[in-house]
Symmetry: C2
Subunit: 228 residues, 2 copies
DNA sequence: ACTACTAAATAGTATTACTATTAACTTTGT
DNA sequence: ACAAAGTTAATAGTAATACTATTTAGTAGT
């Protein structure tokens, strides 16, 4: 598996960019420096002008690669989903019991820091921090329908669908598998955000490993409890 | 109770505005027209310039009342919480059993459209729509710590704390009452948003009354299921 | 009638997000 | 070898946005 990962890299779809950033030195620098920078100053304050200054290039050059800064944010998000999906595929392989598959999956998604990150040019910490702080701005935008149409949410949707199917298989009578999965996924990021900024809204602390317990209890509880 | 409401109006704290909007004709028009307009064109597209044009006044005049458009959004949010809290207080009064109190509360927050709205100048539908579409931008902003400091999130925090206490009383051994409550509150808005824009991520449809069943099952399931 | 205060309009500025065009450099075919 | 074709990025913009400083008009109290 580690062997495999050496040659494997998440390749976000062409929908995210105008010019493939992996194809040039500047493109690669936009991706790697952009992540650090966007996480540092926040999505609103982040502009292509500022990034260009930092890269010693120009605003227009950055616009050659990405249509706007939101597409760049979604590009990062895509990398996250592709990476997590890759791990999930291998992690669940050959696990026979459906119930243990779901719980293994919950372990993996709630403790992503325990999984192998092999993208030397991108910092996992920066990526996770970015997702946590900007979660509300990723899939909750005024451009939602247009961006959805363009396929920019495909990775997130596919990932959720995969988990919902695990639930549908192990608990065929539970009526809300998709709702339950999207609830869990949202809470992974929202509760971390609350721990950092609105601690009175959560019982968890920063990087609290009890997030796994909370999510597992939530999901398993919902599945075992009768619905109307 | 209906008698009482005739003389009662949610009064957001002074932290939200520079000049009390209820104190002048223009101020009141900013609130009522602003809600409709912001909901119509979305928070990003909404500007004080455009609102001023619509009100046949000037940008600068609007800025006399609100520091920026985010404060106006939070002002609306405050009205929502104050109104819901008012109903909760009366609705739970004299209900003896703690367990039924929690379930009554869940009924109320999941079906706010069933509660009495008595603000003739503000449309409940517009307010709920605004909250649903802009939820991600309300408490997940780059200004979070500053706004928190200014007390702009006090209503939301107080409301959640109230519900957490119900849980802590009925289920004193459950370790995540605050996390569970903020999960439920988030899902009220996020799942509606998904129903509208990313339907594959939820099993609910627009205005689906099963949101009550989903949330009750989720909360009660979590409380009955053992944690680590 | 004079002062004090409130309300709202005028006229700005700095920044932002984004685009059109041009220049420089590489690669490729003959 | 060398011109055509393609790639990459710089120059130089624009329209819109968020926000402010200053001025004018109106109203209330003494």
């Amino acid at each position: 598996m580690l062997e495999l990962m050496r040659n494997w890299r998440p390749q976000p779809s062409t929908a995210f960019y105008k010019k493939q950033p992996e194809s040039s030195e500047l493109g690669r620098r936009i991706i790697s420096e952009g992540l650090i920078f966007m996480q540092e100053i926040g999505f609103e304050a982040f502009t292509f002008k500022k990034l260009a200054d930092r890269l010693q290039t120009t605003e227009a050059s950055v616009y050659r690669y990405f249509e706007n800064k939101h597409h760049l944010l979604l590009y990062y998000m895509s990398i996250y989903w592709l990476w997590l999906e890759y791990h999930l595929t291998f992690g669940l392989h050959n696990l026979p019991e459906k119930d243990s598959k779901l719980n293994k999956a919950l372990d993996m998604i709630t403790r992503p820091d325990q999984l192998n990150w092999a993208l030397s040019d991108l910092s996992f910490d920066h990526l996770l921090n970015l997702v946590v702080t900007e979660w509300g701005k990723i899939y909750f935008t005024s451009q939602i329908d247009k961006e959805e149409q363009a396929g920019l949410f495909a990775d997130y949707k596919r990932f959720c669908k995969r988990l919902s199917k695990l639930i549908a298989q192990s608990h065929p009578h539970y009526p809300y598998p998709n709702t339950l999965v999207s609830t869990a996924m949202n809470m992974l990021f929202v509760q971390r955000f609350y721990a950092d900024h609105l601690p009175s809204l959560t019982d968890l602390t920063q990087n609290d490993i009890r997030i796994t317990d909370f999510i597992k209890n939530l999901v398993n509880g919902a599945l075992q409890n009768p619905t109307a």
